[in-house]
Symmetry: D2
């Protein structure tokens, strides 16, 4: 395996297992001179922390971050930023059961085939706790973007069949309910739906939406490193994502060109603007100056207490019922993960995009 | 810009503009000993060639490939395989019009911002002809996979609102109609729909689906290099893709865990099999032994003759009507592009996945 | 900056400053199933630890490693291995002096230009303590290689003008003296030479040599990823290296073809062997079955107490005398760094080299 | 195999065999707006072309380059630049002899082990003709650097025991003799030495030196992507290089700190300058504002007519005498190859180095 390193210029490496000693990330390639402190990271980690509502696992983790390097006198130095979160609630229960069979919807079987064995304690590296490293790194990226006047905001768009209504959409509301839905009515309807799922010892899927404002036009690269391609990879690298959309997304397939094209007009202050944003802020793989709009669909939590058919390591058909502290839905805690990965991609593309023009290189290096 | 190189072990570099001298690809990292000839590549290129039906541009291009390196005595040698396709029909028409304004739904404006100027002839590098390099490289990957017993098959799943019916689904049919739809009735309905679009000087979107059989379980890497993440990036790197799905895709968000999980059972010949394939062949980012199933949604062709609002380089609001030889739909010719990119991803992941286990490394190098 | 990540398949990310909280490394891409414990790493770190003799800095650091992830039940799992070493002796002295000027032979000025400011405490990231991360990662690589029957051994070849004599060469001796010289007489002569240097408040350069036994033939890649190119980069990435050689090295320029070519012969047990090893085990960028032999020349420690001319941040010419706990020679402590980087390169190349032949891929995946 | 792609931002892919149809390179990541024409490339290729003197192979190749993409109206567009050189003199002689045995000093045996078979015609991809792709790509890099006021100049420093004298050093002279030596007397002495080698059916090694003027300070990255590390890899990736030095090189090992350190002083126009350049323009892995000075040692041409011992594919000891058109020395034709690789590294590092400071990023994107 290799695969725990993300990005080209702004690159980070994440590590850690659910029941290991700690989890963390190392960010390489962060520009120097960015104000950064542990609180900047902690705010992000707190949003993915378990135990925020009755719809998240009751595992108790402080998820307290420590910055170990890369910051001097309150600013990034350009050297790698190492961040660590100690695991504290590694409940010493018996894992022999889970070790012996393959949970449906999980990668247990695939890991055994790939590596010969696996760290079965709480899912090991394939646990949702793996996202702590992403969120820590993404918090750094978000801080850099914030300094550059770019904002990344994600929220829950739907839970099972309950979607946010465009009419009631209110971004501030998203931070007021524990489901992170920007629509109070939808949030309470969704809470009811989740209650039903939990009673049925079942779980639910959902969709996270993310909007990025302030991205300059021309970010991303043609061909294989398109901005939307990088975002697609980032989102699909989050466990449980099964669908990804930019702008009109899958719906674009149903439209006609006259419906889907965004007309250009001159704004009053002499800038080129788009009248609509069907493109979701990316045209031809490059940012087009409009807000970037993306959506990621998450499958329902695979760990359910309802009885399921599977096989054990001895090759026998068995029936199981998965115990433990599992979220009935992944989406609310995934909101900040989506935001973090999106921030990392946008920043990386902005840094990589600084070399496209001779005139700019010359002025950058103050050359004649 | 950088961004015309794809892959990690099986890597290819593509190049060429719509109205340049030629278009091509260089494949680095192909294993040695694979039988390969120009006909293997040509078969793929012929499927994306213009002029196959009245629904594709009438530009006349032979799109004849020449292999320039990397093959000796009919087999790959392990050295880079360079392939070239000369452009022959570069109609010498006046491009001053298109050079002067920004086409809606295209990246003209973004390119000007990014690079300071652009090769406006036929879209330059952002033309659909860019995919010739991908298809050539993908044909090589497909050939390698074929030798390994793995097949990659794509087809048109829907055109505008007309979708293939599961009941009438017949894979052989896909190669019998010019829309590549595995359902004869849907194909003729779609043809009618496209006729209407063309009469309205409009265009249509659609969906390509791809099924990959024979992928061993355990392919892909955890964290950021998940197999589905790599496929997502590959598909979104194709111009005009706005949505991507694996298995249940966006629909997974509507399901409950008990509906979406795939149960495991022992098969009669003692193998672990899944009873269903909601996962689309990938669980936890690793192939799970079932067929890989993916879908990419393409937006409608942005170049339409219908009048559109835009601005010109002088910053004036204007109205335009785009002339030229444009496909009313991208999807039928994109089928082989999807197939090519999917093949490249699967092969790359298989090669990268050979280093995960100590026991296998030891036996590979014949070490004690 | 980006640049703290090394390797392609066996990749590691290092982090940490001289006077930060800790220093560490994250190894991504280590095969699963390798027995590994902290003692395996500690043995390596102890060899680069300060205070082993009077020729090394008197800074007191335990340099105790903790493995935080990637190992389960005593074996690597294939997931990232995070290792951390806490800094303990960060003497709270006044750094305002060093902060204000540019030390000759150091990168102070370059860092200020590149990043706008720098962490001046003990050299920050450009301190020799940066090598702790390399050594930790290299210890993992060495362990994997050891399991595969490959050994990497470095030692001091020369200190200033005092070189190991081929006649007296005795590898075991290298671990018996604190200068790591495989020649007891040369070691005591070198100790005297260093004493003189120290009396003169001066420092000395030297050469490290490394021999790698057991590398299978055919490792490395043609063109840009030659095995010797990868080793050259690895060695030059160690601070203070100014020259690098494989086999005959710079001397090859003086030889004739008839002197430099290694003749092939059949051995008694039917293997192809080389009669000589002028090539240093690498021909055409690929390992040729003979031991790999490399040398790296280290410049003298730039921090000397002798008076030196330099400028300060206010742009004034000044004279300085650098105080502090500095090694009069880098070489003895660099021996294990060279060994570590060499091990990482060889392992990475072995893993990357598993995809060159179709027949082997087929058998690896058990395909027909 | 993978390994024919070089660089991070300015990346190129090379391809082609000695006796294939053509050889070429694709440059990805070249900034837009650089004036470029075929003549810019041809000038470089002409310097490595065979047949320039009696000391180079008499193979007749026009080595005429054609640019196929990436240039529009005389300027680079930022898209990949594809360049092709057709092979014309592929003498149809019988290669069965060379196919059957392993030439000493060549990689024949290693290739057979790695790939199972090889293209034996003229060395295939391991032929010196592989450098055509490097030179074409390097010519593009040189052109960009020239536009930025940076010059890269290489020449022959020594041939066998005959070295350029510092007293007689005259750079202009290097372009006046076919050995590219900046010292007329040394050049004629070296010509005599080569005549002797040829009479003895033997060959000679030598050293190429390269000086790069105008590199801004702060280029390169700390840790693993040091500027000297990148140069070391680039030089060692050229076939036949066995040693590499920056500044004092191997000699630094013999010096004391007081001898090797470069003192800083303020220049009359208020700039920080170094009084000496023992560092060779790179300190701590970053350019220090002085000229970059590097040397690469080339082994003698391994193909010699003098009798040699080797084995054949049937495992028999044999004696051979290699026929064909071989250079008695690699160095004079390698001069432009060294220059090309150096140019590519410097440009790549300059582009990658544009992201280190927050203030610069902000001003680059015109952000508040």
């Amino acid at each position: 395996m290799y695969g725990s390193i993300f990005g080209t210029i702004f690159r980070f490496s994440t590590w850690g297992e659910s029941h290991g000693k700690a989890i963390g990330a190392v960010v390489d390639g962060c520009p120097a001179g960015v104000p950064l402190c542990e609180e900047d990271i902690q705010k992000f980690l707190d949003r993915r922390k378990p135990g925020q509502s009755r719809f998240t696992t009751q595992r108790k983790e402080a998820d307290q971050v420590e910055i170990l390097s890369g910051v001097f006198e309150g600013k990034t130095t350009g050297t790698p930023i190492s961040m660590i979160v100690r695991n504290t609630d590694q409940r010493s229960r018996d894992y022999s059961e889970i070790a012996g069979y393959y949970r449906p919807g999980h990668a247990d079987l695939n890991y055994d085939i790939k590596y010969g064995f696996r760290d079965y304690r709480g899912g090991g590296r394939s646990s949702g706790r793996e996202t702590i490293g992403r969120v820590a790194a993404g918090a750094v990226a978000s801080k850099v973007l914030e300094e550059l006047g770019i904002s990344v905001t994600a929220y829950t768009r739907s839970i099972g069949p309950i979607a946010v209504s465009p009419e009631r959409f209110c971004l501030e509301e998203a931070s007021r309910n524990s489901l992170y839905m920007p629509d109070a009515a939808a949030a309470s309807e969704a809470a009811e739906y989740l209650n039903t799922c939990m009673k049925e010892t079942d779980s639910s899927g959902g969709v996270v939406e993310c909007i990025i404002n302030g991205v300059p036009a021309g970010i991303g690269e043609p061909a294989f490193e398109k901005l939307d391609a990088a975002l697609a990879k980032a989102m699909f690298s989050i466990g449980a994502v099964k669908g990804f959309e930019i702008g009109e997304g899958m719906n674009a397939a149903l439209l006609k060109g006259s419906q889907n094209n965004d007309a250009y007009r001159m704004s009053e202050n002499g800038k080129v603007v788009k009248k609509t944003n069907h493109s979701g802020g990316i045209t031809g793989g490059l940012s087009d100056g409009s807000p970037v709009v993306l959506r990621a669909a998450f499958k329902p939590t695979p760990s359910i207490a309802a009885p399921q058919e599977t096989v054990n390591r001895d090759g026998e058909d068995i029936q199981i019922s998965i115990k433990g502290r599992h979220d009935p839905i992944i989406v609310p805690r995934a909101v900040v993960v989506v935001e973090s990965m999106a921030a990392a991609v946008i920043l990386d593309a902005m840094l990589a995009g600084m070399t496209s023009r001779m005139d700019r290189i010359r002025s950058f290096y103050d050359l004649p």
